[in-house]
């Protein structure tokens, strides 16, 4: 499945809506570009608070996350704790990434949780909030997540895979106060980040 996934392979009896429907990030309005914080900033290690997805402040935060993600080179996801806000909101956009298969475009989820996870694979990942290190982390390559869309508050289920699945798990971890460092595969699975010349 490529393009804007609609979760159509899900059981139609599955509770809740599937796919993003007609939701677009433009409906959030223009966001501000916020500074991205780095570990060991305390907010990155705190369990984020549940949010009201229809509250104005949540919609503003969602817009800010999208705006900040878009100006950050190579950034495919950004969670509220990374801009200093301990809340369960994140933005993702893996559009155009070489390793992406299923792509839902730009979207923001509130209070998201993993519903199903399978086909675990180890991959090396880095994070804007841990700029000098990378690490090998096992993530599910098949994933179903559930979360609320900011603005409408509609609860959606997204089925995805590969790179988008990895990005979603990384961002959901951020919302729970977890960094990839918390899931690293072993004592020798942390690496100094390379500089690309």
């Amino acid at each position: 499945m490529t393009g804007r996934g609609d979760g159509s392979d899900l059981d139609p009896q599955t509770e809740g809506h599937t796919g993003l429907g007609d939701w677009t990030p433009e409906a959030l309005g223009a966001g501000r570009v916020l500074p991205v914080v780095s570990a060991p900033e305390a907010v990155l290690s705190r369990d984020g608070a549940e949010v009201d997805p229809i509250a104005d402040e949540t919609v503003r935060l969602a817009a800010d996350l999208v705006a900040t993600m878009r100006v950050s080179p190579g950034c495919v996801g950004l969670a509220a704790p990374q801009v200093g806000v301990g809340a369960r909101v994140f933005a993702v956009d893996v559009t155009g990434h070489a390793k992406a298969v299923t792509v839902h475009g730009t979207f923001v989820l509130c209070n998201a949780r993993v519903v199903e996870a399978s086909r675990w694979k180890v991959g090396r990942e880095g994070c804007m909030s841990v700029p000098d290190l990378t690490g090998d982390v096992k993530r599910a390559s098949r994933l179903v997540v559930e979360g609320a869309l900011p603005g409408s508050g509609q609860v959606v289920r997204l089925t995805t895979d590969g790179f988008e699945a990895r990005a979603l798990q990384h961002e959901i971890d951020h919302c729970a106060g977890l960094l990839f460092l918390d899931r690293v595969a072993g004592a020798h699975a942390i690496y100094q980040r390379k500089v690309y010349l």
């Binding site: 495919v76 991959g123 990942e125 100094q192 980040r193 390379k194 500089v195």
Partner: protein
Amino acid sequence: MNELAITVIGRDRPGIVADVAEVLARLGANLTDSTMTRLRGHFAMTLICVGPAATEVEAALAPLAADSQLVATVRSVARDGEAAPAGEPYVMAVHGADRMGIVAAMTRVLTEAGGNVTDLSTRLAGSLYVVVAEVDLPAGAATALAERLAATAAELGVEVTLRPAEPDLL
């Protein structure tokens, strides 16, 4: 502040890391990068710390080596520029029947291609020898290097793979 390179090697037992770290903390020596593993059952730890004079640290670690089961060395080293490694990250894995010269031959091929080994582990398990190396390669060097590695591996009768280890930025 002095930058110190410390090695501790010897018979393994539970508590060596805690003992060494406690001595360093007591002296105000700040442990920065370190690595520890067991090599053929021997405890082996290498670390860099910043703090007091090398002689002071060596004297403080001496009681740990008093029973001749551990050897601790402390050397003052020039501060590195802390430049992040440059190039494209790859992992080279080699395995096959143990024989003399596998590491020497394979890493020579890496070096001649402009590669820089940044991490290396070797293990001998029975007659099986395994080498895993992290290597930074100049841009575009991997394809030709993979062929040269395969040729050298064939001469040694071992298997080699070279795969990219580029991280995904999330």
